[in-house]
Amino acid sequence: MFAIASMNGIVIGVIYALSALGVSLVVGIMNVVNFAHGEFYILAGYFSYLFATALGMNLLAAMTLAVAIVFVFGLLVEYTLIRPTYGDDLYSLILTFILSIVLQNAYLLIFGPYPNKPPGWVRGATDIFGLFMYGNQRLAALVAGTCVIVFVFAMIKLTWFGRIIRATSQDRGMAELNGVNTTRLNMLSFGLGCALAAAAGVILAPVFPVTPTAGVPVALTAFVVVVLGGMGSLRGCIVGGLTLGLVENLGAAYLSTGYKHVFGFIILILVLAIRPSGLFGHKEA
């Protein structure tokens, strides 16, 4: 029991971290909470389903194209909705909140109420050390998710893009003086945030099929992870995701399956009460 609970906690934790990565990035750089994060995730799931199933595209190509389209869509949303709200972070929250409801209902009209699932990459399950059986698609999602997370970390730590993102998040005006076009960077990073939501979407859709409203719980856990880990801290995002995954699964294993998600919130409240800025957060001046 403990073994599978921990294993599942880690897998789900990585999945949570992956889903929260985009939110964390956008909060960190732009101080904008993208409430419609879950809907971008779902959109990518739908696209990868459409391309792979209806158009019969190669799986990898379908996924890449889906992420690319959501990225462009993210750029558009930044341009039309988010950009005018810079400096008023609460207003962007209101706008993206409304956007999320609009998208949910648009999906319902376009894709219908039934769940959609792109084909799995692998089939079957693996026997883990003779302890328990574990779905292969989940293991694949774990690997893919870890790759995306490592990729994002590498990008942030090692490339110019990461450097200017970090600089901009610390001092936007100064970055501008150093020659960074922060307007374009914002657009790009919002797009990237959406693309990360999309990456999570295409990786997870074969495990958890997408429905018009399935984005809500995704976004909700992403927010919990981000607040838990500390606003805008990527490291916090990973630790937050893993903490949440483990707490929920161990709680479900030993306490109550019905209250699984409440355990996560309880941890969140405890952390906030003790460290108001989250595990890795900095208190804003």
């Binding site: 909060v27 909705l81 609460l90 409304i98 956007l99 609009v102 927010f223 019905g258």
Partner: protein, 317 residues
């Protein structure tokens, strides 16, 4: 402007409010049962939007837990009525107090950080509430909803209309009094600049907590009344959909303006009655309207009206 003129103007304003209220109070006698129901729902949303506006519009705290507090009011009142056989009116009072209490707790937890933390924590709070309502099926009857007695012995739309009218007037009066009192000055000062406010003797945390608690209590009252009107309390009262409606109404009416939420509540509720026939399109249309207004007219309908009047009769600076 001289003192006298301003008193005159405020008297005229009061007179207008009074006359409008009187005219509105006789309206249901001229309408059918169905439209009476629509008016009652409008009044419910007026209470919700006006009280949400108190925190969002006047102190700049975007709470996503407003519907949750309405839910707490409704469930506490309903459970007391069903399980303890309490008079529903006592239940409404208890529900209001309970909502205030939870508002205070949530406020204490996250008002220190303010801003986005408050938004996300209230969101989490409303989710916890949902899970608890679903799981504690024995007490809350889960999604099936808790059937509760009405507030009056014989069911009549007209009497509910007046109950809700009184509720809305109470809510609006409290909001108006608060905003136009010394505390209201503090609300605005805190929203503008916390540090400067505290240097002028404003207890920032208490001011915010006060706004949050009062607003939660008012939501609790609205929720409790609504539960007894529907005679059924379901997890839909504290849902995100409901929160979305309240937020849209306030934003479309005019965030931070006194009449904005009232206008927003009436416009959107009546609009939604009309476009309901469009079935699955109606929420989408709703959202799009809200999105366009929020994006292009951040001050809502009230802002549009003011800008239009300002253009017609340019203010002398």
């Amino acid at each position: 402007m001289s003192q006298g003129a301003s008193i005159l103007k405020s008297n005229r304003k009061n007179f207008l409010y009074g006359a409008g209220l009187a005219a509105f109070a006789v309206l249901p006698w001229m309408l059918g049962v169905y439209n009476q129901h629509v008016l009652i729902v409008c009044l419910f949303y007026t209470m919700m939007a006006a009280s949400w506006n108190l925190i969002a519009g006047y102190t700049g705290q975007i709470s996503f837990g407003h519907a949750a507090f309405a839910g707490i009011g409704a469930y506490v009142s309903g459970i007391l009525a069903v399980k303890a056989g309490l008079n529903p009116w006592v239940g409404v009072a208890a529900g209001t107090v309970a909502a205030a209490f939870f508002g205070l707790l949530v406020g204490l937890l996250c008002l220190r950080m303010g801003g986005i933390y408050l938004s996300l924590t209230t969101l989490g709070f409303s989710e916890i509430l949902h899970i608890i309502i679903n799981n504690e099926y024995e007490i809350t009857r889960g999604t099936m909803g808790l059937q509760v007695p009405g507030l009056t012995t014989s069911y009549s739309k007209i009497s509910y209309f007046y109950i809700f009218l009184v509720g809305a007037v109470i809510t609006l009066t409290i909001v108006y009094k608060l905003v136009h009192s010394n505390v209201g000055l503090n609300f605005r000062a805190v929203q503008n600049d916390e540090r400067a406010a505290s240097a002028l003797g404003v207890d920032v945390v208490r001011t915010r907590l006060l706004a949050f608690t009062v607003s939660s209590a008012l939501a609790g009252m609205a929720g409790a009344l609504f539960g007894h009107y529907m005679m059924l309390i379901t997890p839909h009262i504290p849902s995100l959909d409901q929160q979305f409606l309240v937020l849209s109404m306030t934003v479309i009416g005019g965030l931070g303006s006194f009449v904005g939420p009232v206008i927003g509540a009436f416009c959107l509720e009546i609009l939604s009655e009309y476009i309901r026939a469009w079935g699955e399109y109606h929420v989408l249309v709703f959202g799009l309207v809200a999105l366009v207004v929020a994006r292009f007219a951040p001050k809502g309908l009230v802002g549009i009206y003011k800008a239009w009047r300002g253009k017609k009769r340019p203010e002398t600076a």
